[in-house]
Symmetry: C2
Subunit: 355 residues, 2 copies
């Protein structure tokens, strides 16, 4: 037998990040290098900005129904058909304009069409600006499994245009703040105190964006440090999923962060004063557990989590406000079902939930 | 406006290559590191080896109908459903056993399931051993567009087990020889003289495998040198596609290599003696153009080629037997429709084709 091992280095990707207001001139300038631009736009965004912006763009536009439903094989096929009809080649670029779902599905198609064409993101929600747009994770859902399929594929440029925030609802702002709050807990405590009012501090948003970039640059393929960004998301996803998505992602993540912070305290990693600060911050919001919540359903949902290895349930924990806990270079730790139950029961009690 | 550019380095992949006979013990040893192994097997291979090999494997097996039809969204969904039913996680591995189509589609699913799980390839045809298994290109077709979707994603291990070649037909051996012949023309002239008889020289196969690895290691993302592997494939794909796949891929590639070699000679890049050697080698085979061939259909098929930039048709050319031509660091060159027509007419004449 002949045996040989080959190391194959993958090339780097350069992502240009533009932050400001009214960036459409910069978008036009940047896109000149591509032989063809194809826009994929969220329907709601298209209706809001059709007269003011999109009427002046000369690019083919595919309008996609908004929301999580967009992240399906059928949208993937729809975008691919659109690209094929336009005879798009390796030097074409896909421009995604919308929230996280539109970015996720358009990025996914960019990563697989002709084994990868350029993508450019214009996130229009705060959540997409501070989260989905950064780090190259693309995703689609299959059956009920959220983000079960995807790639890691960075866009060539991201345009964070704060003008789009003017048309967002309070709840949409909260969705973005939930991820900024999480970044505050694992990475930069300056970001955690965010629920005082409904306003958005733009400098905090910029800090969150640079903070997430800094983490994903250190671990683009999500093998170690980047997993710390899953803080709050293991329990958060379980709650969101069992609620049949009546609980928003942001609300679920905030409750998840609080409960995983409690677990960190319970496991003697997080000092009590830090946990108190986190609890007091979350208490500023009026949240509640989904009506159809039950401990058993929640544990069942947790056992489907993507971060598990075999049958273990693994969670990210924090060791102080603004600092993720590391376990011999790993950023997740196996959690026993007993400890999980203790944390979930504390959560039930905090939200006055009675079975 | 705030502007910043982020360079995101992607990690390297290590691919272990095993070459020999009866490698199933090595496969079992290698796979121990994964929490779960799921096999995707070509139906024909499964039927041939069910009693001798697969009866002893304790892994879940998904049998896929062989051939190009396997490379579809519906197979992708079938494999994903299988993985989900088995509750596969990030530490599971997909083991593909079959020809290029099975490797391509299984590799594609590996690259997108949970944003990437390990894949292991056991190619069972000579073509898959010297071509599809090496270099990480995964692919599926959509509508009539061959390989229009895919990723670049290297398997963790490749087991080249020559025992599988015993059950191959002469035509299947020819499919592999076609790619070895191409490697001979662009990279290593020791490989070009291959059509003397129906036998296979194993040492030539090993040279071809190492040759392809050497090229893809220098350019894993197919941005420059690797494109030289498309030699013969631009015209080859066009012929294969217009024949409605009655012409096999290998036959089409051989005719493509000959015609693109003629074009290289016509453009004063390739010396006449080298072209003569190539022509004499191909003349050892009894090939003919597809019945429904016409110059117009062929030019139309060429205009859909994936390597084109905008509306240009670009081809790989050779400057001597065993050496690809480079144009200021580029390995493709724009070809005028006039020159293409001259080459295609030469090809028609060589094969005695009459309209």
């Amino acid at each position: 037998m002949d045996y040989q091992s080959f190391l194959i280095s993958r090339s780097s990707t350069k992502t240009d990040l533009f932050i400001g207001n009214n960036l459409f001139k910069e978008v036009e300038e940047f896109t000149k290098k591509y032989s063809q631009i194809v826009c994929v736009i969220d329907q709601h965004v298209f209706e809001l900005y059709n007269k003011s912006i999109f009427a002046f763009l000369n690019w083919p536009i595919l309008v996609i129904t908004q929301g999580e439903d967009a992240k399906s094989f059928s949208t993937v096929e729809q975008i691919i058909q659109f690209l094929m009809n336009l005879n798009c080649c390796k030097n074409s670029a896909l421009l995604a304009i919308g929230g996280g779902a539109i970015l996720d599905v358009t990025g996914f198609v960019s990563s697989i069409y002709m084994r990868g064409i350029a993508s450019i993101y214009i996130p229009t929600t705060l959540l997409a600006m501070v989260d989905a747009a950064i780090g190259g994770k693309t995703a689609i859902d299959h059956k009920k499994a959220k983000n079960i399929l995807g790639t890691i594929y960075n866009p060539r440029a991201i345009f964070i245009d704060f003008d789009f925030l003017k048309t967002l609802s309070e709840n949409q702002i909260l969705q973005g703040k939930a991820e900024m709050f999480k970044l505050g807990l694992v990475y930069n405590q300056a970001l955690y105190s965010i629920f005082q009012n409904n306003q958005l501090d733009f400098s905090a948003a910029i800090q969150a964006i640079f903070g997430k970039f800094s983490i994903v640059q250190k671990d683009p393929e999500d093998l170690s440090l980047r997993r710390s960004l899953n803080f709050g998301h293991t329990i958060g996803h379980a709650l969101e999923s069992l609620s049949d998505f009546t609980l928003s992602h942001g609300e679920a993540v905030i409750i998840g962060c609080l409960t995983e912070a409690y677990l960190s305290y319970h496991l003697k990693l997080l000092p009590f004063q830090d946990f108190q600060k986190i609890k007091n911050e979350v208490a500023k919001l009026k949240l509640s557990l989904p009506e159809n919540y039950s401990l058993d359903e929640c544990l069942k949902a947790l056992s489907f989590d993507k971060k598990r290895i075999g049958n273990q349930i693994r969670l990210v924990l924090i060791e102080k406000l603004g600092k993720v806990a590391s376990f011999e270079g790993q950023y997740t730790r196996e959690i026993s079902v007993e400890d999980l139950k203790i944390a979930l029961k504390w959560m039930e009690n905090f939200y006055g939930f009675k079975n």
